[in-house]
Amino acid sequence: MEGCIRGERRSQEALFKQFYGKMMAVCLRYMTDRDTAQEVLQEAFLKVFDKLEVFDFKGSLEGWIRRIVANTAIDALRKAKRSPFLSDQDTDFKQAGRDEMVEQEELDLLGLKAEVAMEAISKLSPAYRTVFNLFVLEDCSHKEIADMLGISEGTSKSNLAKAKMNLQRILNEKFIHIEK
C-alpha cells in the first residue's frame, strides 16, 4: 500500500514538474502577483489530480490541464473582486496616436520577446487582461468568454479592443525606453 502511494506521488510530482513552467506562465498572465499565481497553480493541480478520472483522452493532456488552470485563475479573480470583468476605470487608457504606435512590421521584425509580452500583459487591468488572455491565448470565442465571465459579447469585444490599444501603447513606451 505504501509503495502504491509513493508511486502515485512520484507520478504526480513528475506531472507537476513537466507542466509547471507552462502552467505557471498561464497563471502569471491572469494574476500579476507571483504568490497568488503560485496559489492558483497549486489549487489547479489539486483539481487535476482529483479529476484525472474525468480526463477522456479526447484532447491532449496539456490542453486539459491548461483549461483547468485557466478556469481556476478566472475563479480566483472572480472571488477576489465582485465583478472584475465588467468594466474598468479607463483612467490609464488613452488612444495612442497613429504615429506613436509600434508598427506591426516593427514587431514582426524584432520578434516579440516572451518576457516583454508577459510584462505588457501584466500592465493591463484585470478586465482587459482576462479577455485578451482568453481570446488570444486560449482561443476562446467572444461568446464563450461572455458565458465564462458573465459579461455581454459586446463588452468582451470592446475589452479586447481596449486591451490591444493599451498593449500597443505599453509596447510603444517600452520600445522608446529601450531606444533611449
Binding site: 500500500m1 509547471y20 513552467g21
Partner: protein
C-alpha cells in the same frame, strides 16, 4: 482570424515556460498529504465507507434529538404543498433508519450546496473518493464532469398516478426522479424504506446490488400502490496493477500492467501507445519521457461497466539502450565494440551509421546486429583516435506503432 498584434503575442507566449521551482512541489505535496489518504485505492475506499457507515450509525443512534438537522441533509422538504402533520411524522421516522450517506434529494432541480450540510455529514461526504462522482459535486468550471449516464425519463401523468420507466440500472449510478405533484412515494432499496412526499425529488446513489421498488399513493389519504421496480446490476469489480518500472523485454521500453477482473470484457485507453488494447494485460510503450494516463474499462455480463484510471510517469526517453562509451582494446567483449543493445534483441531491420563529428564522414555502417562497430574507420582502415566522441545514427525500417523511426546519440571511443 487573429490580427498581427494578437499573433505576435500568441507566438511569443505559446511555449513560454518559467523555470521549475522545487519548492512549489514541496508545498503542493503537503496539501496532497493532507487530503489524499483515503483516495489511494478501492481498498481504502471500502475502509472509508465502513467508517462512514459506522459514523452515520453512531450519528443516528446518538442523535435522537437532532432529527431536524439530519433531515435537512437527507431530504429537502417541498415548499408548494404542505404535508399534514401525520405525514411529517412518518417522514421523520423513515429518515431515522435511512442511510444518510446514500440518500440525497433535490428539489426544483436545484443542487444542494455542500455548505448547507452540517459538519458531521460534510465529513462523511468528504470521505467519498472523488473517483466516484458525487451527486451534488460542484461544477468543475468547464471541465467535463461525468454526469449521470442515463437521463431519467420524464414521468407522464395518466390521471391518477405518475408512470415511470423501470429499466434496470447499474451499481454506482445515481437514480433520479423529479418530484411529483400528484403523489407521495415510498422507495425500498438495500433494506431501507424511504418516504418522499409531494414535489420531493428522489436521488439515490445505487451503491448496492439489489432491487429498487417504488410505491405511490393517489392522494393525501389514498392507498399506497406498487408502481414498479428495477434491479441494480453489479458492476464488475476490477483492480489494476502497474509495475511502475521500465521493463525492456524484447528490447522495447514497456511498463507492465495487469487487471484483476472476472467475467468482464476488458479494454484499455491511453494518451500514449499501448501494445494491446484488449485483455487482462497490456503494456505502455514508453518511448518518450512524460506522463502516461491509462484507463482500463470492464464491461460485465449484466451490461454494467467499471473503470479504473492511473497516471504513470515515464522518466526517460528511449534511445535503443545504447551505451555512451566503448573501448576497442578491452578484453571484455561486451565493451570492445559498439551496437545499441536494443538492436541485438529486437530482430528488426535497421541501418546503423557512425559519423565523424569533424566532417560528417561515414566511418562505419551496419545492418546486422552481430556486426558491431569495432572502432575501425572504414575510410582508411585505421583505429579512430581515442577519447573522442563520435555520432551514431540508427534508422529503423519498421518502427513499432508510436515509435519514431530514427535515433541518434554520441559514443566515446575510450
Amino acid at each position: 482570424m487573429k490580427d498581427g498584434l494578437e499573433n505576435s503575442f500568441k507566438e511569443a507566449l505559446n511555449n513560454f515556460e518559467l523555470p521549475y521551482d522545487g519548492q512549489a512541489w514541496e508545498s503542493l505535496s503537503q496539501k496532497l498529504s493532507a487530503k489524499k489518504w483515503y483516495q489511494a485505492s478501492s481498498v481504502k475506499w471500502s475502509a472509508a465507507l465502513l467508517v462512514a457507515v459506522g459514523l452515520s450509525a453512531y450519528f443516528v443512534i446518538n442523535s435522537s434529538n437532532s432529527n431536524t438537522a439530519k433531515l435537512t441533509v437527507a431530504k429537502t422538504t417541498h415548499q408548494e404543498t404542505k404535508p399534514t402533520s401525520s405525514l411529517v411524522t412518518i417522514q421523520k421516522e423513515t429518515a431515522n433508519t435511512s442511510d444518510v450517506q446514500k440518500l440525497e434529494t433535490k428539489e426544483n432541480g436545484e443542487r444542494k450546496q455542500l455548505e448547507e450540510v452540517p459538519p458531521m455529514i460534510e465529513f462523511i461526504s468528504e470521505m467519498i473518493p472523488h473517483s466516484i462522482p458525487l451527486y451534488n459535486e460542484n461544477d468543475m468550471n468547464g471541465v467535463a464532469t461525468e454526469t449521470s449516464v442515463n437521463p431519467e425519463p420524464t414521468p407522464s401523468f395518466n390521471g391518477s398516478a405518475v408512470i415511470y420507466d423501470f429499466k434496470n440500472r447499474c451499481q454506482g449510478e445515481t437514480f433520479q426522479l423529479e418530484g411529483s405533484r400528484y403523489n407521495e412515494r415510498v422507495v425500498t432499496y438495500a433494506g431501507k424504506t424511504l418516504h418522499f412526499t409531494y414535489n420531493e425529488a428522489i436521488s439515490l446513489k445505487l451503491n448496492e446490488v439489489g432491487k429498487v421498488s417504488i410505491s405511490g399513493n393517489s392522494g393525501p389519504y389514498g392507498q399506497y400502490e406498487f408502481m414498479g421496480s428495477f434491479d441494480v446490476n453489479p458492476a464488475p469489480s476490477i483492480s489494476l496493477t502497474i509495475d511502475r518500472n521500465l521493463n525492456y523485454e524484447d528490447g522495447l521500453p514497456k511498463i507492465n500492467m495487469s487487471v484483476d477482473a472476472t467475467d468482464a470484457q476488458l479494454s484499455w485507453v491511453s494518451n500514449v501507445k499501448l501494445d494491446t488494447y484488449q485483455g487482462k494485460t497490456s503494456n505502455v510503450l514508453a518511448f518518450e519521457k512524460g506522463i502516461a494516463i491509462v484507463e482500463v474499462q470492464a464491461l460485465g455480463a449484466s451490461g454494467c461497466k467499471s473503470k479504473e484510471k492511473e497516471m504513470i510517469s515515464i522518466s526517460e526517453d528511449y534511445n535503443l539502450l545504447a551505451v555512451n562509451a566503448f573501448n576497442p582494446q578491452s578484453m571484455d567483449s561486451r565493451n570492445s565494440s559498439f551496437m545499441p543493445f536494443a538492436l541485438t534483441i529486437r530482430q528488426t531491420p535497421f541501418k546503423l551509421m557512425i559519423l565523424d563529428p569533424d566532417n560528417g564522414g561515414l566511418i562505419f555502417q551496419s545492418t546486422d546486429a552481430s556486426n558491431a562497430w569495432d572502432g575501425i574507420d572504414r575510410r582508411d582502415g585505421k583505429m579512430v583516435p581515442s577519447n573522442k566522441a563520435y555520432i551514431w545514427k540508427v534508422v529503423l525500417q519498421n518502427p513499432v506503432a508510436g515509435e519514431k523511426g530514427e535515433y541518434r546519440g554520441t559514443i566515446v571511443r575510450m
